[in-house]
């Protein structure tokens, strides 16, 4: 039993916080910001504890393995969770003061799912964790159903349903694919595909189809082309503080899963999935970047930009090298902080300006220079401009991909990065050069401001000094891919 506690200490803690928050709210309902702050602080405690608890080990039968890979992801998810909570505190206290606890509890459940996901080495556990991660997200998406600026349609419920339908459909796709793969290989362990046939013969057609189905299922989850349709709609409809979380943590978890499955389990069968992965990565970069161009709603724009970013991350996974995987982690980690920051600033501006369209956030930098500057930094990081974290992320990914011989995709990616710069700059243009109809400073709540500052710190800090994260990522990736 003690071994279990040691192995799952952090996950236990997260679930316990969820229970605590629910109970506290049930017996002592509060309408202030206390619930959120307590959640954030306790999560911070868990994050701090993750540096002291040595939980490495494996559950019986190898269904769950805790190594550097898992530790890296747990910390990343916890950080995203803390920031997600911080970013929501002011909004929740204002909009639904009587119903805050469930929001945090659901977010924590999702967080627990993600944290477990990183260590799952068994299909059953993986699928179940994936659902534990996804299910609360459907609900949270529709949380602020009557919410949002007056000028915009209230789309939260639709966004939730849309996310649910795509999520459930992708679960179905994954499950069916798994039925074929697990059935053909006869084991639920995530490992090499045993062909069963004579030596040298590849997997049976049915196994191949199953693998592709599984890949497609995960493609839905991370929002890669051609499974991306839900992304812009959901981002536009769901409450913005939640979209910030939705746009980073589940995607990071999805990419982690893809890495576990493709590089950890199916690495020997890369001839099956690699072409598909490359096509998906290339298509995501192209579609994401070009469809973002005509957008006028900042959330939709960021949705498409997120699709493009996923394309870059998949490109790094496609290198199949330890270095490439490490750079995926670096990319994802910087993306987490950058995208959270972008959405938080956008949320602050939209609350005050009455909408998320580029016209509504016009003049932001004149009204609040710091907020405008933060937004600019985040946008530049997304665009991959030097001395912010996103630059190193893109650069490392491209370098690893170039090393792995994916020259065409690298050239495509570099060219598309310029397209990306264009639409990121259109956002910057509307905040810096256009004149809005208001001139009072944008006020952010303390929690939201703190979240933005933390994001800013990491984006700039990692931009100036990327070495620690590079090393951590390299260390973590060694748990999945050995060798170079």
């Amino acid at each position: 039993m003690s071994q279990w506690i040691q192995l799952f200490a952090l996950e236990f803690a997260v679930v316990a916080i969820a229970a605590l928050v629910l109970l506290w709210d049930a017996f002592a309902p509060r309408t202030g910001r206390a619930v959120g702050w307590i959640t954030a602080l306790l999560l911070g405690g868990v994050l701090a504890a993750s540096f002291f608890v040595d939980g490495s080990g494996a559950a019986p039968h190898g269904v769950f393995v805790r190594d550097a890979w898992v530790v890296f992801h747990e910390r990343l998810f916890l950080a995203a969770g803390i920031l997600g909570v911080l970013g929501s505190i002011d909004w929740l206290a204002m909009r639904t003061p009587k119903r805050q606890a469930e929001y945090y509890a659901l977010l924590l459940f999702s967080l627990a799912g993600m944290m477990l996901l990183a260590g799952a080495r068994d299909w059953i556990l993986l699928v179940v964790c994936f659902e534990l991660m996804s299910m609360p997200l459907y609900v949270l998406c529709a949380y602020g159903k009557q919410d949002g600026p007056a000028s915009e349609p209230k789309l939260a419920a639709e966004a939730g349903l849309k996310l649910f339908v795509t999520g459930a459909a992708s679960s179905g796709l994954t499950l069916f694919g798994l039925a074929l793969v697990v059935g053909m290989t006869g084991t639920s362990h995530i490992g090499p595909i045993v062909t069963g046939g004579p030596v040298g013969s590849g997997p049976a057609p049915l196994t191949i189809v199953g693998m592709l189905f599984v890949l497609a299922g995960f493609g839905f989850k991370v929002g890669a082309v051609p499974f991306h349709m839900w992304v812009p709609d959901t981002y536009q409809g769901a409450p913005t503080p939640f979209v910030a979380f939705l746009s980073v943590a589940p995607k990071a978890a999805g990419l982690a899963t893809l890495a576990i499955v493709l590089l950890g389990g199916w690495s020997a069968s890369s001839s099956v999935w690699l072409p598909a992965l490359l096509v998906i990565a290339g298509a995501s970069m192209v579609v994401g970047n070009f469809f973002a161009l005509p957008q006028t709603d900042a959330r939709r724009l960021l949705g498409y930009s997120g699709i493009a970013q996923i394309g870059y991350a998949l490109l790094a996974i496609a290198t199949q090298s330890r270095g490439g995987l490490a750079m995926t982690l670096f990319f994802v980690a910087t993306y987490v902080f950058t995208n959270l920051g972008v959405f938080f600033v956008l949320h602050a501006a939209a609350e005050e300006g009455g909408g998320h369209t580029l016209a509504r956030i016009a003049g932001l930098s004149k009204r609040s220079p710091w907020l405008g500057g933060a937004l600019l930094v985040f946008l530049l990081s997304l665009a991959g401009i030097p001395f912010v974290a996103g630059f190193w992320a893109k650069l490392f990914v491209f370098m690893e991909a170039w090393n792995a011989g994916l020259v065409t995709l690298v050239v495509l990616g570099v060219a598309l990065a310029v397209v990306g710069l264009y639409y990121y700059l259109t956002v910057a243009r509307s905040t810096y050069m256009a004149d809005g109809d208001r001139s009072t400073p944008v006020r952010t709540g303390f929690a939201l401001g703190a979240a933005i500052v933390v994001c800013l710190f990491f984006v700039v800090g990692l931009g100036l000094w990327p070495k620690p994260l590079v090393e951590a990522a390299n260390h973590a990736a060694a748990g999945i891919v050995s060798g170079r």
Partner: protein, 195 residues
């Protein structure tokens, strides 16, 4: 035996088509029930009696009931300004047919019958339970969390702003099903807290 199998197979297939073809949603749900029953029969024939039982209990007994409930509650309105029933009909057909062609080709091309050895020791309910609570205990616990999360989520969604619990009927049903399906004491314990 074979006859029963063929019968179940045909009934399941036809019922499935009816589920997506029926204009009337109540009929579609009924067809779903039929299909689920057909599948349950197939489970039984495939030596999975426990699953057949669970299928009948949770699916036919629970999910279908829930669906009917959903149809009834949301039904008032179809008719007058009901939108066109289908979209992208042709595109959907092409995708589905293409997918089926791919799958059917893969199934046939994989030559599954050659070298397949009959199972010596069929999986019994007992071995299933052992696997559930031994090898996959972690997953089992996670599922209880999942059901708890779903429960809280359903409460959150169904509860009205003004506090009236219109959706509590759905919830009650949902939670019962959830708990039945897992027979997880953890689930009900947590469920109690959530209320």
């Amino acid at each position: 035996m074979t006859l029963l199998f063929v019968l179940a197979l045909v009934v399941t297939a036809i019922a499935a088509v009816m589920v997506v073809a029926a204009k009337n949603l109540v009929r579609a749900v009924m067809a779903l029930a039929l299909m689920l029953l057909g599948t349950a029969v197939l489970y039984a024939l495939l030596e999975a009696p426990f699953l057949a039982g669970v299928q009948v209990l949770t699916y036919v007994g629970g999910v279908v009931t829930l669906m009917i409930f959903g149809v009834m509650v949301t039904r008032r309105h179809e008719g007058a300004n009901a939108p066109a029933e289908r979209i992208h009909g042709f595109r959907g057909l092409v995708v589905a047919a293409g997918m089926f062609a791919l799958l059917a080709w893969a199934v046939v091309a994989s030559d599954l019958e050659r070298g397949a050895t009959p199972i010596v020791k069929p999986e019994t309910t007992r071995s299933l339970a052992t696997a559930l609570l031994d090898d996959h205990l972690v997953a089992f616990e996670v599922v209880s969390l999942l059901l708890l999360a779903a429960l809280i989520g359903a409460v959150v969604l169904a509860r009205r702003r003004d506090g009236r619990d219109e959706g509590s009927a759905i919830l009650a049903a949902a939670s019962r099903e959830a708990i039945d399906a897992q027979q997880a004491p953890a689930g009900s314990a947590h469920g109690g807290d959530a209320r």
